[in-house]
Amino acid sequence: MSLDESVTATDHDVTTPVTPREGEEGRRSHSLLTGSDRRTLTLMTAVPSFLHIALVWIPAIGTFILSFTNWNGVRWSSLKWVGFRNYEQLFTVFEKDLYESLFNNLWVMVALFAIGTPMGMLIAYILDRNLKGSAIYQSIFYTPVVLSLAVVGFIWRSVMYSPGQGILNSVLGRTDPGNQIDWLGNPDFLIPITSEYGLSKNFMALIAAMIWVHVGYVMVLYLAGLKSVDPNLREAAAIDGANEWQVFRQVIFPAMRPVNIVIMVITVITSLRVFDIIDVLNNPIGTDVLSILVTDNILGESGNVGRGSAYGVMLLLVCFAFAIIYLRNAFGEEDQ
């Protein structure tokens, strides 16, 4: 990593283009950094970067490489290169696992986009009007976000979904044995796509808990975005006789493009990352997702590092596509 000679703090402000003042065009050529300063700076970046790259990016590349092997993970000598065979098997032998998981990841995404995200946006939009008690509403909707998703799984199972004494069955009067609704144990389809695949009832029950968390997250991000929208825009549109929906659709929403992109990417990534809430409930039948298939293959015996990695590659590919969108959004204007 070679440090540049110059010591200009990044002076391009993102929002207001600054015209270069006199004597500041380009980089300053005379060096103000001493040798020891340069060493300090190099060390300051190198150590954290090494850790991050070694434990995040090297494994990310490793996932691609290992996906072309057949390996139980015990000894190097047992590692065999098998080309694309893991991928072939995913689409043949393990077709059922793969499609069920892909569908489930997709259901989470659809549910968050159709319900969770718009709800969070709507709440933020209303709260942005300086309503009384806005801080209290915000605190309430944000509370689930500070909880661990694993604990959220436990809370929903023991409090909401417990067949014999849960709140839902109590409200519905279905707590008697024989008459109970087993919210988390019923893998029948709520929305069938084919005879084999669809949205299972117990997975929908888990999605409800995920929405409970997601709404507050989106609300906070959106609220921060709304604060940055020029209030005059709204006033002007209102004076022009636009109704509430038109103001939102034609003025606010387009002005919020950067935040919209962040929320879209976060929603997609959340749906790829879903794991804790399913694993902590012992992975009921019908609730497999990609991340579960990856981890099922971690340990030797029945597991296969190669196959697990192939599932991991699928996660990575979708993730990369959206990471690029995110990066372009966050850095786009800074690239010269």
């Binding site: 540049d4 010591v7 200009t8 703090a9 103000l32 300090t40 700076l41 300051m44 970046t45 970067s49 850790l51 991050h52 434990l55 995040v56 990016w57 090297i58 494994p59 990310a60 490793g62 996932t63 490489i65 993970g73 209303i126 009007r129 309503l131 509403y137 915000q138 944000y142 509370t143 500070v146 909880l147 661990s148 998703l149 694993a150 604990v151 023991s158 409090v159 417990s162 004494q165 709140i167 109590s170 409970w212 991000l221 921060a224 975005g225 940055s228 990534i269 794991f275 804790d276 694993d279 902590v280 012992n282 981890t295 991991g312 996660l315 990575l316 990471a323 995110y326 966050a330 850095f331």
Partner: protein
């Protein structure tokens, strides 16, 4: 902007209804955890609480060996948060206050790293951890290798979380006036002094917000611990909650009480530092 009266009333009705709905699982958790299973399983959730006690909490604490797991948690969270903030602020300082060839690329790497699903990198990471030996030190490394050790857990949490923090801090530091550095340079302050005595104090609001957020995130981590720790005793509190759910029979009330104990530290800190929590998240969501 002022809103007419009726829409305002309507907005409150809508928000109150939704807020009540949102509180149901939490209030339900508190209510359930104070009542014995024998009572709620017969009378149902909506019944008068004849006997309320702390028995479920005692039970969850003992059965879940929570004292032990809380100690592990503190030993994980404190160094991990400190290290994450130190590392991210150093990188953020270098990329935002100086211009050199790869600073944008490096920042992008950190930012993208924070978006990866942890499960997508676990297979190779697990194999790497298996193959890095550590001296056996009680508590810090019980297993003799990075896998199963507290050090391994601290390192991966730090490496992973520093993606988000670097992004946020770099955006924040960019907004500080660059004259600060120049003046310091003229005074002959070293780079380290500029970082530690000039830029860091000015970054305090962002650091405070991130510290709060990272405390919650690392405290709440479930996946890294479950994947990389194999001894049940070495699990931090969140992932140890699994022990409370027996395969065949589960006392829902004890589970509720256990959940309440586990979320209590985050909830308390959230109630006190609500502003930091929300601020930290907004910092990451919007452009710097």
């Amino acid at each position: 902007m002022t809103v007419k009266r009726w829409p305002r009333v309507l907005a409150h009705v809508f928000l109150i209804a939704l807020a009540v709905l949102w509180l149901v699982p939490l209030v339900g958790m508190v209510f359930t955890s104070f009542r014995p299973y024998a009572e709620t399983s017969i009378d149902g959730f909506f019944s008068w609480p004849d006997s309320m006690s702390l028995d479920n909490f005692r039970n969850a604490w003992d059965r879940g060996e929570m004292g032990q797991h809380f100690i592990v948690t503190i030993a994980l969270v404190v160094p991990a948060v400190a290290l994450t903030l130190l590392f991210s602020s150093m990188v953020a300082f270098a990329v935002s206050r100086f211009s050199w060839r790869f600073n944008i690329a490096l920042l992008m790497l950190f930012t993208a790293g924070n978006l990866l699903p942890p499960q997508a990198i676990i297979q190779p990471l697990f194999q790497i951890y298996l193959r890095i030996p550590l001296p056996e030190i009680p508590f810090i490394s019980n297993s003799g290798e990075l896998r199963g050790s507290l050090i391994g857990l601290i390192l991966i949490n730090t490496a992973f979380q520093s993606g988000f923090c670097t992004f946020v801090l770099a955006n924040y530091m960019k907004t500080l006036p660059k004259e600060l550095n120049e003046a310091a340079m003229v005074d002959g302050a070293s780079v380290w002094r500029q970082y530690w005595q000039i830029v860091m104090p000015l970054t305090r609001p962002a650091l405070a917000a991130l510290a709060t957020l990272e405390f919650a995130w690392i405290y709440n981590d479930y996946f890294w611990a479950v994947a990389l720790i194999q001894q049940g005793d070495d699990l931090p509190i969140t992932s140890s909650l699994r022990n409370l759910s027996g395969e065949f029979f589960t006392d829902e009330n004890v589970v509720a009480a256990g959940s309440l104990i586990v979320v209590l530290p985050t909830l308390i800190i959230y109630l006190i530092l609500r502003r930091q929590f929300i601020g930290g998240l907004s910092l990451g969501g919007t452009k710097g």
